[in-house]
Symmetry: C2
């Protein structure tokens, strides 16, 4: 398929079709073999204190890249060429659908406000800091040539995070709220950064005025709501179809699974077709399907769908990190870039600094805000230790950054413009650095920050030594004016959320579940 | 991917890349939506007396093709273009692996000799009849222009069968032996015809001499044995890896499934790479994996793998028939063909006649042979009724014929040569006719031939009214010389088979299972 195996393989003419076919078979075989190797090595190193799947895949990618580079006498270092169409049309949808399908809905919706705060408002803060920072700092180290639009794109590219590393270390049972926050933010922020990136692509920078930011935000809200509605509608339609048809016959399981997979994919494609955000649509489609449709199918279908999507997203993630590892050795890109080594390191340093800063700039303030408005129960506070984990969890950059960078700065995986080539290689380096170095430190860091973590989950009982950063220590005797105000604000916000949730439960039980299915 | 959506979409230049991307999104969405429709309609019509999945898909394909044809003002009738690379590299492997994975090994190996007889010797007979028949008869109705090599290819193309229709009607529990024979022959004959086709492709026709047939057979045997060994080796390697690694950790299920899927695919690709038959390799890999590897994984992995491959092969089959339905309305092919209507119908008639004849020419004689050499037990006889069902089951032509025809007579799904275009359209017509007409008659026919079939399986107790075609009625009193000879021949052949089976069971229990896994 359009894996575009062996760069240039697509360009051969009819006479060489057989040779090209053979080249393709060789490439696919090698890639699949290396993927298997990654799985096995990843498993063997799982108990290791330092590594994780992503690091393993990147390192294996680098090794294979070196071997290919040497054996092809420096011509190329990768087996397949990155194709953002492949990524956005075929690899991303299963990852995101799986996220929606596996999400613990109760936790997710319980923390919905905080997740939206981090995943949407936070990403906007991070986006502004990275865009403005790079726009200010790049010229200072002598790197110019990017337009305003491209600086804005950079902000979106480096605002998407990859929380897989941290999620591998956290345990859902031990720290359910923290897990839910990191997981939820990870998904929402992927969606936000992609939507933001697309909004910027359509932006007419020449007409950029003061209210343009508001305009971007308005576009974003429109996209967010319509995409969500489409996803929910398709999810409900599938649930209804599965319930109404009653697949109680011989091939029922295969047919049910096929219908769920195809409808999930269709939701993504229909959103893309309507110029909406496929990623949000497929995410909400996943949530609705796991809430209703999943209960209308046979037991075997349930188990299979749970794992089919998880496996697809697992293979895809391994595939992407493997690719990043190989592509790091791509000579062409390094040659095309024409930027001095000093400037390069300057760029990497600036981006990594901005990533650290941009994330700190929203995690800590927004956590305080979240604590402030939901301080009615001690257990729902985000402790400083948890804030550090959330901050750290979002430092890694991954597949989405790479895909967006290719989308912005390259065509069909190749770029000849030196400035663009520099941006591509910088994204590569930042992804490599953050995944390898930050990823490497994740396990030890979390063990230090959450010391009880390695023992059996004492997190559910809030620890007294946690610094709650609620600005004012709890005083039982006298309520200060500020605390009173805080409490009323909290109640104002908390009560509707709770009331809505209660009403929703009633509505769901009375009207939705009888029609669309669910545990009765 | 290289679905090559909207013919010519691949040819647009960089400026139109966005438009091409959009066209691709439209095509994929439409195709997925139509696939969903097929699933739902197929389910609704399942209890119908006349139709089956294949017919439903073809008819829906025709309707959609008509709609596209009308709305595109007669320009084209299909959404995607047939790509034999797509078919052979990505669609066929899961179908065949699934066949190996789901095969009832005990029944399959018990009937192994008979299956090989039908699937290998039978296909050779059918191949000779169709090749020779078309070579003799085509010039008589005024159709010339095919080379010897192409007549031979035609024989291979129309020797592959599509037994899905019949398998949908037969019940594994009611007629286990018949089901096993039809299923086993279906797989082996796909493999045989593809291997035969590839052998013919490499054949130097100018040097065709008397012993060339032997040479073809020799090549075939070499391919058959090496491919089988490779498949078994990779299956064993996977089983060993899964057992040795003991994936007892958090993501174990996803990792196990991923490893099985990837290794299965790798077996196919490695065979293709070594110029062997991927289809045989992946089939035997499937058998070995379901015999050993399947027992080394978690319960959830077992359920998921069972269904993951079944669903993939189900979607793929629907996809192919849908495509055939659409392609039937492809104006370009009909225009390119330049053959008079009379000649066309002559060709269709000849091919369908040869298909009927070629199959009858081996099913009945080989059944008698099979009965003759295994007449030691009454229950294992192939009754005349069963012979009719086996004959009928193999009359339908399907995806493999289409793919081989495209492979021989078209390049990238397009052909401009009038003679080649006639061959492509003839294959289409034969596939459509056999699937629709023969498929339509399958359920009623089987209900007539196997009248007890609709009730609960009385097949396991052999019925007395079955005509056993064993040439001589069983006489308990006196043994004729012929019968004696028959019995000794049968014992000669039956004893080694039984002995080998017993030794194998011992060997398997003692050496294989402890290493590669299995029920203990």
């Amino acid at each position: 398929m359009a894996l575009d195996l062996f760069p240039l393989a697509g360009m051969v003419f009819d006479d060489n079709a057989a040779a090209a076919d053979r080249g393709r078979v060789v490439s696919v075989s090698m890639f699949v073999a290396v993927l298997c190797l990654c799985l096995v090595v990843g498993h063997l190193l799982e108990e290791s204190r330092w590594t994780n799947e992503s690091i393993t895949s990147i390192v294996i990618g680098c090794i294979v890249g070196t071997i290919i580079l040497v054996s092809s006498k420096g011509k190329n270092s990768h087996i397949v060429r990155f194709d953002q169409e492949l990524f956005f049309m075929y690899l991303l949808p299963p990852i995101i659908f799986n996220a929606g399908f596996q999400v613990k809905k109760k936790q997710f919706f319980h923390n919905f406000l905080t997740i939206l705060l981090f995943g949407v408002v936070g990403i906007f803060i991070s986006f502004v800091i990275i865009s403005a920072g790079s726009w200010k700092l790049f010229p200072k180290i002598g790197f110019t040539g990017l337009s305003i639009q491209e600086y804005l794109a950079l902000g979106a590219i480096f605002s998407s995070t990859d929380t897989v590393c941290t999620l591998q270390v956290l345990h859902q049972d031990e720290t359910p709220r923290l897990y839910s926050l990191v997981f939820g933010e990870g998904v929402v922020n992927d969606a936000t950064s992609i939507v933001l990136f697309n909004t910027i692509q359509k932006l007419d920078v020449s007409k950029l005025e003061g209210w343009a930011v508001l305009h971007v935000f308005g576009d974003f809200l429109y996209l967010f709501s319509t995409s969500t509605i489409l996803g929910i509608a398709i999810g409900l339609l599938t649930s209804y179809a599965l319930r109404a048809l009653y697949f109680g016959s011989r091939h029922s399981t295969d047919r049910e699974i096929a219908l769920m997979v195809l409808m999930a994919y269709l939701s993504y494609m229909m959103a893309e077709l309507s110029q909406l955000s496929g990623i949000l649509t497929v995410f909400f489609c996943g949530i609705v399907m796991s809430h209703y449709a999943w209960h209308n199918v046979t037991e075997n279908s349930r188990i299979t769908t749970r794992h089919i999507f998880a496996t697809m997203s697992f293979i895809t993630e391994t595939f992407i990190f493997l690719y990043v590892g190989m592509d790091a050795l791509d000579i062409e890109k390094w040659k095309a870039m024409k930027t001095s080594l000093k400037t390069c390191f300057g760029i990497y340093g600036i981006i990594i600094f901005l990533v650290l800063l941009g994330r700190a700039a929203f995690v800590f303030p927004l956590s305080i805000l979240s604590n402030y408005i939901s301080s009615h129960s001690e257990t729902s506070l985000i402790t400083l230790r948890h804030q550090v984990v959330i901050w750290w969890a979002g430092l890694m950059r991954g597949a989405v950054s790479i895909a967006l960078a290719f989308s912005q700065f390259a065509h069909s995986g190749v770029t000849w413009d030196p400035v663009y080539a520099t941006m591509i290689t910088s994204t590569m380096v930042v992804v490599l650095f953050s995944t390898l170095v930050f990823g490497f430190l994740t396990k030890p860091l979390i063990n230090v920050v959450l010391p009880h973590h390695v023992h059996h989950g004492s997190d559910q009982q809030p620890k007294t030594d946690d610094i709650t950063l609620s600005l004012i220590p709890p005083e039982d005797s006298a309520e200060s004016g500020l605390q009173q105000a805080r409490r009323s604000l909290s109640q104002l916000l908390a009560r509707p959320v709770h009331t809505i949730h209660a009403y929703w439960r009633k509505f769901d039980d009375k009207y939705m579940r009888p029609v669309f299915g669910g545990p009765t």
